[in-house]
């Protein structure tokens, strides 16, 4: 039974393989030294964000199953067309993911000591923030349109689920915006960790994908 040893074994690095440019993990600046970046990767935030993503996925899975069961169990379901502005909002949040990815790569270059002259490191993060705020505003406009049509939260189960799912999603987007503000604040104070940036951007991409999923779900089921 005993496995007594003389020296402690090296705990294997959880992230296998050499870092590659553009990959999720250990993103390194072009021609940069991978070891520099590794030191910026404290894992708890990286693992933690997956834990958060998992919990939110379970919450929306529960709401999805509630929608499916509720729709299937009764005859009071009245379908309605989604406000067209949702498609514009989808484009906005997709754009925000693109700009965030640009921000992440530029920041990797910046952290590797190869800043692009004349460009503020937070520029693309700010652009992402604007896209995020536009998305939230757009969702509010969508709710206003529905209200103008006389569709409120309690009007019909279909409208209940519309407000519930989009509202819950917007709350999570607001959480992502707070995360981005936190990243920008840390960047200004030169205290930004790679793991914080990566965690915030993974979360943002997740709420983006979550929105696309919700749009398809609402489009199919409402």
């Amino acid at each position: 039974m005993a496995t007594t040893i003389h020296e402690p074994p090296e705990i294997e690095p959880r992230r296998r393989g050499e870092p590659r440019n553009g990959g999720w993990r250990n993103l390194v600046p072009a021609n940069g030294d991978p070891r520099v970046v590794r030191d910026y990767s404290p894992p708890p935030a990286s693992t933690g964000i997956w834990v958060v993503v998992y919990a939110i996925t379970m919450t929306f899975a529960a709401l999805t199953s509630a929608l499916v069961v509720r729709k299937g169990s009764s005859l009071d379901w009245q379908s309605f067309s989604l406000p067209p502005i949702l498609y514009l909002n989808t484009a906005l949040i997709l754009c925000s993911s693109v700009t965030l990815e640009i921000a992440r790569r530029r920041l990797a270059t910046f952290m590797g000591g190869k800043a692009i002259p004349g460009e503020s490191p937070a520029r693309w993060l700010n652009i992402t923030l604007v896209f995020g705020l536009l998305f939230v505003t757009g969702q509010y406009v969508a709710w206003s349109r529905l209200r103008a049509e006389g569709l409120y939260l309690a009007t019909n189960p279909s409208s209940s689920f519309f407000y519930l799912l989009t509202g819950a999603h917007v709350l999570h987007v607001l959480g992502g915006l707070v995360g981005l503000l936190y990243v920008i604040g840390k960047l200004r104070k030169s205290e930004l960790r790679r793991s914080t940036l990566d965690a915030a951007s993974r979360y943002w991409h997740f709420v983006d994908i979550l929105w696309v999923y919700l749009l398809v779900l609402l489009w199919m089921k409402l």
Partner: protein, 594 residues
């Protein structure tokens, strides 16, 4: 890669001032103690509620002096109304399940010992950890506040079945504001537990000290890790379910109330909701919750038995595998709570099969405990006695689970006292014995003082005998057809069972009074107990390598290095028959010697 930055992430400066040290503390050890204190308060509230209910069941319409102070309408003239019985029952179940069985074995001991056992200075997200406790505390206050507002707490039972949970005050006292407060409390509680799970998972995966591979984690650390994975899934589903209930109340939606529902000659305004939907959402949480309560106990019992047997269990890996299997299977069995709900009978069959399968890993764990105990020279102390008591309760309560797992038998036994006996033994008393075992075992490390062993043993025997006297007769009552959740037994066929109820009531009050021995021991030992050495039980895991009580950063500024498996007992070393995980000493095992 064991990088320094991972540990730097959870490092924070020692707090200054009373508030930061003891109230809004970031220290996982203080947070663990806060959870323990909350559970202690909650368990006494829950116990007193059960006394009041038991007195009413034994002697119907008995005037309980002072009861009117709790509720004028619920207990006019100190005599409980039928509705108030149900309200107290709901609060008893909710408080015990959420604020005792979930918080004490998982959040309290896990918070205190998981970081130390993996060799970390703290959890990786201390602010979230602090929030997790205070959010839970607020949830408790919100729940208890329902005693004092409107027409009292909800009467729907801790399962809060639809449509009663969504119709509003027409459903009875507490079904309006009481339900909203209940659902809000549980939703807030879920947030707290999700934050806790986040910290537990990341601590286990990312903050292990050098040499601490996953298989070198003590079984307690594994149990907390598996429990936090279960909690993450379960509470993330319960929270939106509670929000749907609140919306049905305050926003006029119709998630759970079916169409054409008439209550008290009033047609309900809701339309088309699904009552089964609530049951699915609730039990998807509810059944894993049973294991959230019991799996930490399995880890604690294994840890304590190994230490006192002075030898490892027959298989470390199989125990871990079985606990993980229980964690995964717990999500596939929840429909066994719904055999008589009107669900498709084929679904019952589908849920019955994994329900029987989940008994296999549970049985394997028990057999490993018993097989390992066989022939061992167990050190008898209060902690090991309570660990044995846990096994006894788990087996006694688990056996009745075989009957309930089969839909054909469950149709007869459903909603009878048989079920009450079953889950109180296998989930409640077993888990509480796990909490007691852990308290007696870790108290020296948590406070720096030893608990009184004599009083501990008295406490054990009174609790052990008392628990059997209370809960074994429940099985008999259930088989005799005594339905649960009735506030009085007026039917003729139930009359011969009244003496059994009286016996149970006396046993419950006596066993409850015996718990004051524990409370006295706990408080007295905290201040006047014998000072504890660093390693009073001659144990091996990392929590015993630190000073007693552990300093702010757990290891005094120098992280340990792990050289050994967690349970190196029965070896020859300079310390005797064991070698600690953090000891670099080379040892010879009995096996190698031969």
């Amino acid at each position: 890669m064991h990088d320094v930055s991972a540990h730097a992430a959870q490092h924070h400066a020692p707090p200054q001032g009373f508030i930061r040290k003891h109230v809004f503390s970031l220290d996982h050890k203080v947070i663990g103690k806060q959870y323990y204190a909350l559970a202690l308060v909650a368990v006494f509230v829950g116990m007193v509620l059960s006394w009041i209910m038991r007195l009413h069941l034994g002697w119907t319409n008995l005037a309980i002096p002072g009861l009117h102070l709790l509720s004028k309408n619920g207990a006019p003239g100190d005599i409980m109304t039928p509705e108030y019985y149900l309200q107290l029952m709901t609060m008893h179940g909710t408080i015990m399940v959420f604020f005792v069985l979930t918080t004490a074995p998982f959040a309290a001991f896990g918070n205190f010992f998981l970081p130390i056992q993996v060799g970390a200075e703290d959890m990786p997200f201390p602010r979230f950890n602090m929030m997790s406790f205070w959010v839970t505390f607020v949830a408790f206050l919100v729940l208890v506040s329902s005693f004092f507002v409107g027409d009292g707490p909800t009467l729907g039972g801790w399962t809060q079945y639809a449509p009663l949970n969504a119709v509003g005050s027409v459903g009875g006292p507490g079904e309006g504001l009481g339900v909203v407060l209940w659902a809000a409390s549980i939703a807030i509680f879920c947030i707290g537990q999700l934050l806790g799970s986040l910290n537990f998972i990341t601590t286990t995966l990312d903050l292990r000290v050098k040499g601490m591979s996953l298989m070198r984690l003590p079984l307690t650390a594994w149990a907390w890790f598996i429990t936090s994975c279960m909690g993450l899934t379960a509470f993330a589903v319960l929270m939106p379910a509670c929000i749907l209930v609140i919306l049905d109340h305050v926003a006029g939606t119709s998630f759970f109330v079916p169409s054409n529902l008439v209550i008290n000659d009033q047609l309900q305004p809701h339309s088309g909701g699904s009552t089964l939907l609530w049951q699915h959402l609730f039990w998807f949480f509810g059944h894993p919750e049973v294991y959230i309560a019991i799996v930490p106990g399995m880890g604690i019992v294994s840890h304590i038995l190994i230490t006192n047997m002075r030898r490892p269990l027959l298989s470390h890996r199989v125990i871990i595998g079985c606990m993980a299997a229980i964690g995964i299977l717990s999500y596939m069995v929840y429909g066994h709570h719904m055999f008589v709900s009107g669900m498709n009978p084929f679904s019952s069959l589908a849920f019955s099969f994994p329900t029987l399968v989940i008994t296999i890993p549970a049985t394997i764990i028990v057999l490993i405990w018993i097989g390992s105990l066989y022939g061992s020279r167990l050190r008898i102390n209060t902690a090991s006695l309570f660990a044995l008591g846990f096994i006894s309760m788990f087996v006694s309560g688990g056996v009745s689970g075989f009957f309930l797992a089969q839909p054909s038998i469950d149709i007869m036994l459903h909603a009878t006292y048989f079920v009450v006996g079953h889950f109180h033994m296998v989930m409640a008393v077993a888990a509480i014995f796990g909490i007691f075992a852990a308290t007696y075992f870790w108290f020296p490390k948590m406070t720096g003082r030893m608990m009184n062993e004599t009083w501990g043993k008295v406490h054990f025997w009174l609790s052990f005998v008392g628990a059997y006297c209370i809960f074994m007769p429940f099985h008999y009552l259930g088989i005799a057809g005594n339905v649960r959740r009735y506030q009085a037994f007026v039917n003729e066929y139930l009359q011969p069972l009244i003496p059994v109820h009286k016996f149970i009531t006396i046993a419950a009050i006596a066993t409850g009074i015996a718990q004051f021995i524990f409370l006295y021991n706990l408080i007295h030992s905290r201040f006047w107990g014998k000072p504890a050495p660093d390693n009073p039980w001659e144990a091996t895991s990392l929590e015993w390598s630190t000073p007693t009580p552990p300093p702010f950063d757990n290891f005094g500024g120098k992280l340990p290095v792990v050289y050994h498996d967690p349970y190196q007992y029965g070896v020859q070393s300079s310390t005797g028959d064991y070698v600690m995980q953090a000891s670099s000493e080379q040892v010879v095992t009995e096996h190698e010697e031969k």
